[in-house]
Symmetry: C2
């Protein structure tokens, strides 16, 4: 499948690399491809420059948000939550229309200090904001409840014995996303309901951050034991 992955951070790179490895035709979208490729220093988080990652993943195309989205049959939103609506606007509503947006972002709000809080939260969610802003797109919230390496390789944790959620209004879109999740190796995909259930999925983040602090590693995941 032709897939556009919006976002060049760790999550975007990890998902793009994994999808390409599974044989998909992947283009990473970024605001300014020249600038993204020109950086030679690690970013503030210590993430290696994009060009270094791209040298090892030449099969992944690099394009503007709009060009990537135009060519994609499915769009992955792997941008920072705070910038997602802007990035998707740059991708262009026409390039998103009718397409599945697999939204893996979290609306972390660092303005209230550490640990980050969420915005929106409680009575709204980023997943809903995206669906409202781009009503012709078919948004599915997923994968935001685990670290990037586990998103694409669930077997890294407890032999893959854990769960992933999907939220969205469109059943076919959730089916398409579930197939991608299963391609990564996820075996327990739980359908939480319509896109308003993205509130619950996003509100897991605060406890995720605390568990990360407690365990000293982000390589864990929630399993719904039943």
């Amino acid at each position: 499948m032709k897939i556009a992955v919006l976002g060049t951070g760790t999550v975007g790179r990890t998902i793009a690399g994994a999808l390409a490895g599974l044989g998909h035709d992947v283009v990473i979208g970024t605001r300014d491809p020249q600038a993204t490729l020109a950086r030679t220093e690690p970013d503030a988080m210590g993430t290696a420059p994009f060009a270094q990652w791209h040298a090892a993943h030449k099969q992944v195309g690099v394009a503007t948000f709009a060009d990537a989205a135009a060519g994609g049959e499915l769009i992955v939103n792997a941008t920072n939550g705070g910038g997602s609506l802007k990035a998707l606007a740059a991708a262009g509503p026409g390039n998103l229309s009718g397409k599945v947006i697999m939204d893996v972002a979290n609306p972390l709000d660092f303005s209230q200090g550490m640990p980050p809080s969420l915005n929106p939260v409680n009575t709204d969610s980023l997943g809903e904001q995206i669906q409202r802003t781009f009503p012709e797109a078919r948004v599915v919230k997923t994968l935001n409840t685990m670290t990037a390496s586990v998103m694409v390789n669930p077997a890294r944790v407890a032999g893959g014995e854990h769960s992933v959620f999907v939220s969205g209004n469109d059943e076919d879109a959730k089916k398409a996303v579930t197939e991608i999740l299963q391609g990564f190796g996820h075996r327990d995909v739980i359908d939480l309901g319509d896109i308003t259930s993205a509130r619950g999925a996003e509100m897991i983040l605060p406890v995720w951050l605390r568990i990360w602090g407690s365990l000293g590693t982000g390589e864990f995941n929630f399993k719904i034991a039943r």
Copy 2:
């Protein structure tokens, strides 16, 4: 141990009954014991009258919030989240001073429609509100992430292979609560950190409610796979 359980709903009854079964000296606290015992009809949620439950659990005392708290060495807050501060105020700050408050309540807010949202949320939590309001008490948030039957009998779900969280500022208080949890059969007690981490534990509720809807049962729990 002498334990006061505040709250006569399903959660309070379940915890009081289980603690009494483990040999603790348990008194249930309620606003008006006479009124609580006089009810003969199921409540709005269909919960059987308290007197019916109490007839089967005669070893559990029934007293006012204040009398129960006065006699308790450890206090369980099993009241409705929206009424917890009021119930604890009725229990009396002096009766809580120096004691561990095991807070299992969730601040569900039904005023925004269904499913309920949370209040407080995101940058505050009920656990923190209780700690701030009763600074001499030692609040530990726990057990609020699962249904009552699983709180006291984790083996009901997946052979007990799942996790429970504790949040609180006082290490000895968390140790005392952990011993109670282990008495119920919990084997994976994760310390999330200080009482501000109760935000994360409480913010699990929205996804819990959606998973409940999806699975058709509340008898599940989160296991932190790692």
